[in-house]
Amino acid sequence: MTMQSTLSKQQLMQIHSLYQKLIPLLGVQKDPDLSFIISTAKDSMTLIEAYFNLDNSSEDTRVTTQILLSKHKVMNQPRVGLADYFIWNDSLEERIKLNQALDEIKHNLNDIFNTL
């Protein structure tokens, strides 16, 4: 995997789209412990939207990348972050099914940020 210093515009749009899908999934179980993750995801979306409203200088891209990466890391704080979150159901089969979309989003987000 090629390492890069900033996120591309396509990656930024993908991140925005992934967060947009993620937030409703996090609200499924109305878990108050997720408020930080949800608000951080929303902040990240706002930042991306602001980025696309600017002239997109290289400095903008660099700063945006840094902030998004920082937010991604803090959202995935071990033990209490997104990486440890799952949707619960007593049935294993049902549980796997319910978490499929969530895992896919988490996986895609990690893939994007791992390019940095």
């Binding site: 890391k73 071990p78 033990r79 209490v80 799952f86 619960w88 978490n99």
Partner: protein
């Protein structure tokens, strides 16, 4: 008429006022809101009858007589208090006329509803409606539709509000729900709310009280829910008025008593048979005696009337009538005292419940530091100042002999219950000892960990002697040695402080409670210190400084300062509390300490000792961070040492007496974040970082394996996470050795990311074929040192065959 209306209005408030106003328009009207037994009112017995003019008259009485409604508790700044006492004896003057002062005239909506029973200007913070609302946090623009208009002149300026429909009703119901939501016994109260209506009022009764009046009057109503809310507000205000009432008690004790004896002396000069001598064997009456004394005030008034008439009218029959009247009033006072005692028992029970809550809060809290122990222990004595109602009773020698006899008999019959309550309360006071012992064990454990760290530092220094310049080695040795010395000194100091603090505090508290006179002195001292705690603060600061100077630590090395400071804090607490218990401290100090003992948390005076100890703890954490930093630096050095030197390093351990404590070594693990990150970085890079220096091994299970997880109680989802241990661990091991912080904070913003409660240990069976990652838990911060082997399993909740074998609470609730 006056008694009836007072009764009716006191129960029904504005509804009754409106109902009565049609036939009593010329009479003064007033509203009494009862200020006690709000949360658990006795059953109401209500009835109604049709009057000749076609209106309905309602009357409700609390079951059980006499009516005494009074509550006062310390804890807030002074405001006035409403008292409402209803005489149960036909023909007797309502006691409330002199307890509550002039009956209160209802005001227009939004204006002052109540006036002080002690007259304007005497007591700060009049009990006005805005005051009540402000205290409850209710915006002042809310207007109450108090139906103060006549029946035939309906108030059309305020829109009628139907129950459950109008904004006022909804507002107060929401407030009630909020209060209930925040209540620890939320579920029970919700259920009560749903089945019995707000504040335990029977919905049928609410309907009975509201519907007919609304039909007749078409008036805006102060609905029961809002009435109950107001009542609760008044109760809160009532509890805040201790200081003001003590002034009244002082007046009664110092002046009224003397006047009574003087007047009685004059009366006895006319007729010794009719007027027996008064004696006040106990000159100090507590707050609980205020209503009895107030009834005596009426006696005094009547005796003055007799005295006025004596010179003109020496008719013996007339005197007899007066004397009977007086004796009757004594009897009323007697019954009031009995009711007071009943209320006292309720207060004691409430105090004990509150003490239990506080202890529960302490036991359940994450912070078991000595500072917290001090704070909680300071809270507890305040619950025991009201445990001696019998003494107050015996002091009530002004009552008639037969009445006094009944009263003492009643009290003696209940002596066992009172004693049991007191005993239970004292037992509660001992609970901190148990929790403190846990704290001490934690400190011991912490010390062991730090010795481990020191060992590691020594190992590294030893191992790198041949590779590092001599001055660097010396410096590292010095840091390690000083750090270790400082930590050991500190921990010994903390331990001594905790033990000394606990023992002598318990002794001091015991000494206080075994001496009723001391309680009285403390009560007086509270009054002095509420207004000026600065004497104590000044004394405490000076004392601490003197200790520093005396023990010559000003020029000492930093760790020693920390150690001795912890010890000083414990010793200072000890010395001062013993002094207070023994009565040997100077008056201003005693006052200040009393203030402290009353536990008005939030004031500077009450927290100063806790702050001192907490500061010591803070320093300890700082030192532990230094140790860990040393440890990390050492680890980095170790990693930079060529592998060929490792054998030599291991050999160097042989001569070290601490070599049995083998440190974590990189060579034990296949993967590390620097040289060989391994597969976990691809799967979950955050998880890899939770291992110390990213060191871990990966293996595939050949058999099913049971591993353990600490987590939130409740089972289900809470049983699953991704971090486990090979063997069951304790709460302390979870926090310290596995580095699981109670709360995780975003270092950039300070926001709370999430929390990790450790309440239950789950045993989980993981199926064979699963890949597990094992390594030492990483350091987080502070005392969250890590070091113990943790196991990471990726998304175990998706594994076929995963099973929760058992769950067990970590610490039983005391």
């Amino acid at each position: 008429m006056r008694n009836l209306s007072q009764f009716v209005i006191s129960i029904l408030g504005p509804f009754a006022l409106a109902a009565l106003s049609s036939r009593a328009a010329a009479n003064p009207r007033y509203i009494e809101i009862r200020s006690s037994q709000i949360l658990e009112p006795p059953p109401l017995v209500c009835g109604h009858k049709m009057k000749s003019d076609g209106t309905m008259e309602y009357e409700c009485r609390w079951e059980g007589q006499p009516q005494v409604n009074f509550s006062s508790r310390p804890g807030f700044n002074g405001t006035s208090l409403l008292l409402s006492v209803q005489s149960p004896f036909p023909g007797a003057a309502p006691v409330s006329t002199f307890l509550s002062g002039t009956p209160v005239t209802p005001a227009a909506p939004g204006q002052s509803l109540f006036s002080s029973p002690y007259g304007n200007g005497n007591i700060p913070g009049q009990s006005s409606l805005p005051t009540v609302l402000n205290h409850l946090g209710i915006p002042l623009e809310i207007k109450f539709g108090l139906p103060t208009q006549e029946v035939d002149q309906p108030n059309t300026s305020f829109p009628p509000v139907a129950p459950g429909d109008g904004p006022v009703y909804k507002f107060f119901n929401n407030r009630l729900y909020q209060l209930i939501e925040n209540d620890p016994q939320s579920a029970e109260k919700k259920s009560d709310f749903a089945t019995r209506g707000p504040m335990g009022i029977d919905p049928k009764l609410v309907d009975q009280l509201t519907s007919p009046v609304r039909k007749v009057e078409n008036q805006p109503l102060l609905l029961p829910s809002s009435l109950a809310q107001l009542q609760k507000g008044l109760l809160v205000l009532g509890q805040s008025s201790l200081a003001a009432h003590r002034k009244t008690v002082d007046y009664i004790n110092n002046e009224l008593e003397r006047k009574l004896i003087d007047r009685r002396g004059i009366l006895r000069s006319y007729n010794k048979d009719l007027f027996p001598p008064l004696s006040f064997t106990t000159t100090r009456y507590s707050l609980k005696g205020i209503q009895v004394r107030a009834s005596l005030n009426e006696v005094l008034t009547l005796e003055n009337l007799i005295l006025d008439q004596l010179p003109q009218n020496k008719d013996r029959e007339d005197f007899t009538q007066w004397a009977e009247k007086l004796n009757h009033l004594h009897f009323v006072a007697d019954r009031l005292a009995e009711a007071n005692l009943r209320n006292d028992l309720t207060l004691v029970r409430n105090d004990i419940e509150q003490a239990k809550e506080i202890m529960g809060e302490y036991i359940g809290s994450e912070d078991h530091s000595p500072g917290r122990i001090t704070q909680f222990m300071n809270l507890l004595p305040s619950f025991n100042t009201q445990l001696n109602p019998i003494e107050d009773l015996r002091g009530n020698a002004a009552l008639r002999p037969e009445g006094r006899g009944n009263l003492i008999l009643w009290a003696e019959q209940n002596q066992q219950a009172i004693t049991d309550e007191a005993e239970e309360s004292r037992n509660l006071l001992n609970e901190p000892k148990v929790t403190a012992q846990i704290e001490i064990e934690a400190a011991e454990y912490f010390r062991e960990q730090l010795i481990d760290s020191e060992t590691l530092a020594r190992d590294v220094v030893s191992s790198t002697k041949s590779d590092l310049p001599a001055n660097v080695v010396r410096l590292a040795m010095t840091v390690a040695r000083e750090t270790t010395t400082g930590i050991k000194s500190y921990l010994l100091g903390v331990k001594a402080g905790i033990q000394g603090n606990l023992k002598t505090k318990a002794d001091a508290i015991e000494a206080i409670f075994s001496n009723p006179e001391r309680l009285t002195r403390i009560s007086e001292a509270i009054l002095n210190t509420i207004t000026d705690p600065t004497d104590f603060m000044r004394y405490a600061s000076t004392s601490i400084l003197n200790f520093h100077i005396k023990m010559g630590i000003v020029t000492g090395i930093l760790p020693a300062k920390v150690a001795i400071r912890g010890k000083i804090a414990g010793e200072l607490s000890t010395e001062l509390l013993i002094g207070m218990a023994m009565g040997t401290t100077a008056a201003p100090i005693n006052s200040g300490l009393t203030h402290l003992a009353k536990g008005l948390i939030g004031t500077e005076a009450s927290e100063i000792l806790g702050v001192q100890i907490a500061e010591g703890l803070g320093r300890a954490e700082s030192i532990s961070s230094e140790v860990v930093a040393t440890q990390q630096a050492a680890q980095e050095i170790l990693e930079s040492v060529p592998a060929k030197s490792h054998a030599k390093i291991l050999e160097s351990f042989q001569d070290d007496s601490l070599s049995a404590l083998a440190p974590v070594r990189k060579l034990d693990y296949e993967f590390n974040l620097i040289q060989n990150p391994g597969p976990l970085v691809e799967i979950n890079p955050g998880a890899a970082s939770t291992f110390r220096s990213g060191m871990y091994n990966a293996r595939i299970l050949k058999e099913d394996k049971i591993i353990y997880r600490l987590g939130e109680g409740g089972g289900g989802k809470n049983a699953f996470g991704q971090y486990f241990t090979e063997v069951p661990v304790t709460f302390l091991e979870g926090r310290i050795d596995l580095g699981v912080k109670p709360e995780w904070i975003d270092p950039h913003t300070g926001a709370l990311i999430g929390s990790s409660p450790l309440e239950t240990i789950y045993a989980i069976k993981v199926p064979k074929g699963t890949t597990i990652f094992e390594g030492p838990a990483g350091y987080q911060s502070g005392i969250y040192l890590g070091g113990k082997t943790q196991i990471y399993v990726h998304k175990p909740w998706k594994l076929q065959g995963v099973e929760v074998i058992s769950e067990k609470p970590l610490r039983p609730k005391l």
